[in-house]
């Protein structure tokens, strides 16, 4: 099992929990488990099956977009964090 920290605006969909325990061996599996536990998150994390462009998943200090993306391995005890890119125009 790993844990994932939820960004403040999305905690409304995790009953206010900032950290959720998740299972999975890749980022994709972890996010799938997270969305299964808290279905309201799904539309804000994914669009057409792809991770939304502003959604970044970090393992420790590393953005998994700079690793292997959704197939980045996740180990037991890993600490993940969703950090949105804040952008406007």
């Amino acid at each position: 099992m790993a844990t994932i920290k939820i960004p403040t605006p999305l905690r409304a969909y995790t009953a206010g929990h900032a950290v959720v325990t998740v299972s999975g061996t890749t980022v994709a599996e972890v996010l799938s488990d997270l969305a299964a536990q808290h279905p309201g998150l799904k539309q804000h994390l994914f669009e057409g099956g792809e991770l939304r462009s502003f959604v970044n998943v970090f393992i420790g200090e590393d953005n998994t977009r700079d690793l292997q993306g959704l197939v980045t391995p996740v180990k037991d005890g890993d600490t993940l964090r969703i950090i949105p890119s804040i952008a406007g125009g």
Partner: protein, 148 residues
């Protein structure tokens, strides 16, 4: 729902975003939630890291800025309420770029800066189905104890 913002903080946002003109600038709104109201107690200015030549119509924060602001809020009993950014020489109406990149339950304060001077601020919230922004009432109120 209302966004309540002390005039001193609003003025600080206005001056900061005027200084960013003709480019976009932005930052965070930090405070607390009181029933449905969002009460801003402090702001945090954040550098625009979008490609320099596109900054006149684009704004982007470094992910570390979000992490730091959220950690600060969580550790001190505050809430990361939302963020503000400017629309240089454009109305304070969310763009399609704003909508696509928006988070729910997050206040978007947009300040129109016209010819280098703050013109008007409007406040928005993304609809839960992500289809549009809805306007949020905005009140300047000074009788608030400001944090940090």
């Amino acid at each position: 729902m209302r966004l309540v913002l002390p005039p001193t903080l609003h003025t600080g946002i206005q001056r900061y975003l005027e200084s960013a003109f003709p480019n976009e600038g932005g930052g965070f709104l930090i405070g607390r939630v009181d029933n449905e109201d969002r009460i801003v107690t402090e702001t945090r200015f954040v550098e625009n890291i979008f490609e320099t030549e596109e900054q006149y119509h684009r704004y982007l924060m470094d992910s570390g800025a979000f992490q730091a602001a959220e950690d600060y809020a969580d550790a001190n009993g505050f809430t990361l309420i939302g963020y503000f950014h400017s629309h240089p020489d454009s109305p304070a109406i969310p763009s399609e770029f704003d909508r696509v990149h928006a988070l729910p339950n997050f206040i978007y304060l947009i300040l129109s800066v016209q010819a280098g001077r703050a013109d008007h601020s409007l406040v928005w919230l993304l609809a839960d189905d992500r289809s549009r922004f809805v306007p949020v009432a905005f009140e300047e109120k000074s009788s608030i104890i400001q944090g940090g």
